[in-house]
């Protein structure tokens, strides 16, 4: 048996032994997703145990180095772990902006001290991070951000406002873009700093969205003191880190739709329109559309896999994350339009136990942000035109 086959066998056995049965059922609502952090209240004992066991092996982040408590797995091993988890229906033990965004940036740009300080806490789900990027006047034109950090000798003094900060009200720490040089061109006066959301002068205000939920906040900084050692990389060189982190954020948002569990759209449609004598959905047009989206979803899964393999082989264009972000978020919107079409009027009940308080409708409305957050679809197409296709004037 090859080493990988041995690994597969052992992994399967370990998962069967250690993944609680409750954690092998599809996530029914957003509340069942584990985000961890100081303020986290576990939804169930099974959720706590599952995170603890996976974190202990470093398998919340299978490919991070062991020295920072990651899993230390090779790409091929990580694929096997993912496959085996999928086969058993294992839930993700931990969703985390630390894993998806900050971690990769710290691994590349952080000091050794910062890596040892922050990465293990991310692996273990002890600190929940939020992202201080967008501002009221810095959306697609992110580099025009104005939140300022003044050098006060042993600390930075931060003043300003962020917006669309996902889960700022639930987060423990923030990774934040601040302007440290107002006289330099806009890309050259930005720094990347980290600070505790419990710091004096930080306040958050959730924003009520069309989904009736408030995943995003306005975040205010009023004379917040941030230790100088919390600067990542060099002063005024934060834009490079910001962009690097964005490539990871984009890949994450692109892949997000595929993580959403729940019933397949074909089953929801079967409840609504019924089946014909041959077992096909009785609405042939809807059936065709479902098949088309399924084809694109399967193809997109392969594209994600390939992008990871190309990166591992050193053949990836860094701008490729824009392809994944653009395609994945547009696909997720299509998918949710189709879910609503399949659900029919039953999916329109906003407040009812039958619709789980309008779960499908709220998720559908939430997806409308996918092609805006992390850079709009139009921004991604600009990046592809410029950095991959090398079109003139792009």
């Amino acid at each position: 048996m090859s080493d990988l086959e041995v690994f597969r066998k052992e992994t399967r056995a370990w998962l069967e032994k250690n993944c609680p049965p409750e954690m092998r059922k599809p996530v029914q609502s957003e509340e069942e997703i584990c985000w961890g952090g100081r303020k986290w209240k576990f939804h169930s004992e099974a959720q706590r145990v599952w995170l603890e066991r996976m974190a202990e092996k470093g398998w919340t982040v299978p490919e991070w180095p062991k020295e920072y408590c990651g899993g230390g797995l090779s790409r091929e091993e990580a694929k096997i772990l993912q496959k085996e988890m999928r086969a058993l229906g294992c839930r993700s033990p931990l969703d985390s902006f630390g894993i998806w965004m900050l971690g990769p940036a710290l691994l590349k740009y952080g000091s050794e001290e910062q890596k040892r300080e922050y990465l293990p806490q991310i692996v273990q789900g002890k600190i929940r991070w939020c992202q201080g990027y967008s501002e009221p006047n810095a959306g697609s034109d992110l580099a025009s951000l104005a939140t300022k950090a003044e050098d006060k000798g042993n600390h930075f003094l931060v003043n300003g406002q962020k917006i669309w900060t996902s889960y700022a009200d639930k987060a423990d720490w923030i990774f934040c873009l601040v302007r440290t040089d107002f006289s330099a061109p806009k890309h050259e006066g930005i720094s990347f700093i980290l600070f505790d959301m419990d710091s004096k002068g930080v306040s958050t205000k959730p924003i009520l969205l069309i989904s009736g939920k408030s995943p995003f906040c306005e975040t205010f900084f009023d004379n917040v003191e941030v230790p100088k050692k919390n600067l990542v990389g060099q002063l005024n060189k934060g834009w490079e880190i910001a962009k690097y982190l964005l490539t990871h954020e984009r890949a994450m948002i692109g892949g997000m739709g595929l993580r959403a569990a729940g019933r397949p759209v074909s089953q929801i449609a079967a409840d609504s329109v019924g089946l014909d004598a041959e077992g096909r959905l009785a609405d042939p047009v809807l059936r065709g559309k479902i098949a088309e989206v399924s084809i694109d979803e399967m193809a997109f899964v392969f594209a994600l896999e390939r992008a990871g393999d190309l990166a591992k082989a050193g053949q990836a264009n860094p701008a490729f994350s824009s392809v994944l972000k653009y395609y994945g978020s547009e696909l997720n919107k299509r998918r949710h339009e189709l879910l609503m079409a399949a659900g029919g009027s039953a999916a329109l009940e906003w407040e009812s136990p039958r619709s789980k308080q309008g779960a499908l409708a709220r998720a559908w409305l939430r997806t409308k942000a996918n092609s805006i957050e992390g850079g709009t679809s139009e921004v991604q197409l600009n990046i592809v035109a410029k950095r991959i296709l090398d079109l003139p004037g792009a």
Binding site: R75, E76, S266, Q267, A269, A270, L275, G279, R280, L281, R287, G288, I290, A291, E292, S294, I295, D296, M298, A299, F300, F302, A303, E305, R306, A307, D309, L310, K312, A313, Q315, F320, V323, Y326, Y327, E378, Q380, L381, N382, V384, A385, I388, L389, D390, L391, P392, G393, A394
Partner: protein, 379 residues
């Protein structure tokens, strides 16, 4: 297995690309068309294909082939897509040789494989009977007669059927059209009495034929596989054909796109290069995304054929559906962005549009494969 080409596959791609660019660029197809070539392809080129090892790409080494896999076959098909080269590679090297290598008797393998690998024998796979691909509907009948069978019926869009030295014919030995049971494959000499072949000049200047069977007699040893049990062999052959054509479509779509992107960088209007206009930039970027997503699906399909041949159906359908759709988008955008030049016969873009239309149709278009996927997932 990583979803990228390995080093050897990369080298194969480079050598196929170099060979085709030198010996069979689009002008090669144009010349065959303009000269109204009797066969529509170049035997000398096919001989060179054989010398390169391409004709025997799927044939085991013991029969004189290269003994490579479906990923390698797809790599060559993609390059053929870039140059639109007409050749018996699909019909002979992939469909016929692949089928005989997988399902043929020892005698059939000995008879055909070595000659195919040497570029000395051309085969054609006769399956479709209707305008739209629907293999379960096979009606061409094979009734027991004397020592063998008597064939009656007709086939259409038989790729390279007009130059084939032998045919693999799917016929019904029992059951009704629509049923997958009761289909048998035969290896047939097209010179058999009762068989008539009509070359059909196609929109893409590639090669196909209509073939009719009027009490054509074949011996019992013409059966490929077992009587009534042909469906599984056909499915396998079709999946190879679908993944291969999907690869070709990736190549054709990507080449059409590359030519278009170059044009955007050169053509000036309103005092600017037209690639500076965001309206075109976004369409080009969108098209690039579609092609890249498709490329991943097609490589996955080829790898799955190599690793789990009997379980490749749904992934192959995804690949063929995607390839048909994104190559179609590529040639449509190419045509529009080239403006009036694209409409001229002198410009090559039209050749890409025509070939992609045929590739979309071969072995099931995007709609057919969407339906397949729905069936496989029981909805």
């Amino acid at each position: 297995m990583p979803l990228v080409l390995n080093d050897e596959q990369g080298l194969l791609r480079d050598s196929a690309r170099g060979f085709l660019a030198k010996n069979a660029p689009v002008s090669h197809l144009r010349k065959l068309r303009d000269q109204r070539d009797e066969t529509g392809f170049s035997r000398a080129l096919w001989k060179q294909f054989a010398e390169m090892g391409f004709a025997g790409i799927l044939i085991p080494e013991e029969f004189g082939g290269a003994g490579l896999g479906y990923v390698e076959a797809g790599v060559v098909m993609e390059e053929i897509g870039r140059t639109l080269t007409p050749s018996p590679f699909l019909s002979t090297a992939l469909l016929c040789a692949g089928t005989i290598a997988r399902a043929g008797s020892e005698a059939q393998k000995k008879e055909h494989l070595g000659k195919i690998a040497a570029g000395e024998r051309i085969g054609a796979f006769a399956i479709d009977e209707h305008s739209k691909h629907n293999p379960a509907q096979i009606a061409l009948s094979a009734k027991r007669s004397g020592n063998g069978f008597s064939l009656n019926g007709a086939k259409g869009i038989v790729v390279d059927g007009h130059v084939a030295d032998f045919l693999i014919v799917a016929a019904r030995t029992s059951g009704e059209p629509g049923e997958t049971k009761g289909i048998t494959l035969f290896i047939v000499d097209p010179k058999t009495k009762g068989i008539e072949t009509e070359r059909t000049i196609m929109v893409d200047s590639h090669n196909a034929a209509r073939i009719s069977f009027d009490n054509a007699q074949v011996n019992a040893d013409a059966v490929l596989g077992e009587v009534d049990q042909g469906w599984k062999i056909i499915e396998g052959a079709l999946n190879v054909g679908r993944a291969a054509v999907a690869s070709e479509l990736v190549g054709a779509g990507e080449e059409a796109f590359a030519r278009t992107a170059n044009y955007l960088k050169e053509r000036k209007q309103f005092g600017k290069r037209i690639g500076e206009f965001q309206a075109l930039q976004h369409r080009a970027a969108h098209l690039y995304c579609e092609i890249e997503i498709t490329r991943a699906a097609v490589l996955k399909a080829l790898q799955t054929l190599d690793e789990h041949f009997d379980h490749a159906g749904s992934i192959v359908s995804v690949a063929k559906a995607r390839a048909g759709a994104s190559a179609t988008l590529a040639v449509q955008e190419a045509m529009q962005m080239h403006g009036g030049f694209g409409m001229t016969d002198e410009f090559d873009i039209g050749f890409f549009m025509k070939r992609v239309r045929v590739g979309q149709e071969l072995f099931g278009d995007s709609n057919f494969h969407a339906d397949q996927l729905a069936r496989l997932n029981r909805y």
